[in-house]
Amino acid sequence: MHPAIALTQFDAESVLENQFHHLEALRGQHVFISGGTGILGAWLLELIKVLNGRYNFGLRATAFSRHASAFAQRWPHLGQQPHVEFVDGDIRYLTHFPSDTRYIIHAAALTDRRLLASQPSSVAEINGIGTLRALRAANLLEDIQKFVLLSSGLIYGNQPSDVYSVEESSAALLSSGDVNSVYAESKRFAESLAQSFISESKLPVVTLRPFAFIGPYQSLSLPWAVTDFIRDSFNGGPVRIMGDGTTVRSVMYASDFAFWVLSALANGRARETYNVGSPVPMDLAALARMITLSFSPQPAVLSGLGQTGHPRSRLVPNIERAQRDLQVKMTVDISESIRRTIHWHSLTRTP
């Protein structure tokens, strides 16, 4: 077995080892995963592989995305699972789910920050209209048990500086007059659509608001802070931070993220909304230092390179509701998350 595959399999087995019984509701079911080939989709498939292989769950999955076949070829250990079908398709044109579908994870979305700037109307279309399509199709199913909508922690906008962590009831502080709000607004719209279907059709929707994640299968070409830091460290550095490094985020490992989503599918209360992410705040300077410490020689970290005078930004979730209802916990801390992620990329990246 390729060591990178062994690493993710170990992670999947570890996160399920003492928690798989929380997912009993999914035994023998058919789950449809839209956007099934992103970092979340890949990890859901990793966990399903273990649930079936080790715990005989008999869980069938349909992974639906625009690049499903290519993903299955790229990662044959996931692509050749007997219980998983890969379907190429665009969520904007989805008309129906397989008739025996009882559980849906709707994760299809444009999340690439580069596309948010270049094609904001496409972001609105795919994230908004795509969700409408998925909800309508779900509404046609005879025995739909749960529809998990992946929204975003970004819908909270700018977290007030005096708030330690945002609760699900926090009001959004978005500027609809700013095109950069289109991603968050599209997710807010998606949530409103979900509420409409809950009200009209009693569709059992559970809404998740994910924050920041790290792990294998996350492309280092994405211009996020954590991917930037890792990629620049692989290239010898320096790691550049535009601000003073005091921007605060929290980062969850991908295997925990995937488990929380499956747990929401199995245990989430319909109509409820849950934050998903690490509750442990960390500023970018500390995150950069932690990442560079994994490399030898340690790359330099340069900060304060950008324009000055911007307000400090903080986005950290309050996860008490998820912990209470979903029976979830963090199993991988940030330093271990970074170590495993860098190790995986060192095994899979082409120099």
Partner: protein, 347 residues
């Protein structure tokens, strides 16, 4: 808007790139080595080298370089000890697989990906590629006098989202007034995370004033060239910037005397081609036409026996941008026809 003075200004010396326009792209390896060493000693942060239109631009259309760009880049790199090597890149001229890849191999430290000021979308692949290599990359909006501050902000945000670690507004036509700089740089400075820069041209004699306005509005990057050696009426002369910065107490890594020596060297190396303000450069600035059009306009005007000032005015009326060099000949021919001028003989 209050005056904002940054703590450290990054200075980019574009002499061996923008000056290539003024030298019909005939800069020699010896000139590259000599001047790069002088620029290094002068304390400029970046030394930009290459064809006037950037990597891969050497062509019959916009002028062929005397020496291959790979040799030029390696010669410059060998001459730099402290300063870092930068290149100008226009997607379309430069491809990722060929020119960018080769430039990475040649040791280029900073890639400045340029495009027309309303077309930042075309910079995404190039910026992403450079980030994947670990080298530094900035976005550059050329002909920025043609767009409003709000439009420039939108385009800069795109480049920032692609991974650009700085953005530079180019006054490619030398058409800015200080109030324009204050408005545009000020807005970018207040809304962007990455450092903002300004690249002046001197068609209206305002290159230094505009550069200072940029700094006072919050710019942290300033471009210039020795003796203003650059396209059209040239750029902000670095030796003057060095003197003014020193007098005003702006923080840079420039050594004033070495900067003056580099300028003196440029005078000798490029004697006869240093920019002067004349009727054509002034009119091109007024018309808001790309400074790099200066020599092609003069050649076409001579060929068709028309007034180059009329050609510039018409180019400005048609809002011609870099890459539309064909329009120069087209306009000159039309003017010749309409004015009873002389059409060149058919071959």
């Amino acid at each position: 808007m209050g005056v904002k003075i940054p703590t450290l200004i990054t200075v980019c010396d574009a002499t061996l790139r923008d000056g290539s326009h003024a030298y019909s792209h005939q800069i020699t390896l010896e000139q590259v080595r000599s001047y790069a060493a002088a620029a290094d000693a002068a304390g400029y942060d970046f030394v930009e080298v290459g064809h006037g239109n950037g990597l891969g631009a050497s062509s019959l259309q916009v002028g062929e370089s005397l020496i291959p760009e790979g040799e030029m880049l390696r010669a410059a790199k060998e001459s730099l000890s402290r300063a870092r090597l930068s290149v100008h890149v226009i997607p379309g001229f430069a491809t990722v697989k060929k020119e960018l890849h080769n430039a990475v191999d040649a040791g280029v430290d900073l890639f400045r990906i340029g495009c027309h000021c309303t077309e930042a979308d075309i910079s995404q692949r190039h910026i992403s590629y450079v980030r994947s290599t670990g080298r530094e990359v900035w976005g550059v909006l050329m002909m920025s006098h043609m767009a409003s501050a709000e439009t420039l902000l939108e385009e800069c945000k795109k480049m920032q989202s692609y991974g650009a670690q700085g953005v530079v507004l180019m006054d490619s036509a030398g058409a800015y007034f200080p109030k324009d700089v204050t408005e545009k740089i000020g807005l970018l400075e207040s809304k962007l995370e990455v450092p903002v820069g300004f690249h002046a041209h001197n068609n209206l004699g305002l290159a230094i004033a505009n550069s200072l306005a940029a700094i006072e509005a919050g710019a942290r990057i300033i471009d210039g060239t020795a003796k203003g050696f650059g396209a059209g009426a040239g750029n902000a002369p670095l030796e003057l910037l060095a003197a003014v910065f020193k007098q005003l107490g702006h923080c840079t890594t420039i050594d004033l005397y070495q900067s003056l020596d580099a300028a003196a060297l440029a005078s000798r190396l490029f004697a006869g081609s240093l920019p002067v303000s004349d009727d054509v450069t002034i009119v091109s600035g007024l018309a808001g036409v790309f400074s790099g059009f200066s020599k092609p306009v003069q050649r076409a005007s001579l060929l068709f026996k028309v007034d180059p000032r009329d050609v510039f005015m018409e180019l400005g009326r048609r809002k011609a941008v870099g890459g539309q060099e064909d329009m120069i000949v087209e306009i000159a021919a039309e003017l010749a026809k309409n004015q009873g001028g002389c059409l060149p003989p058919r071959r």
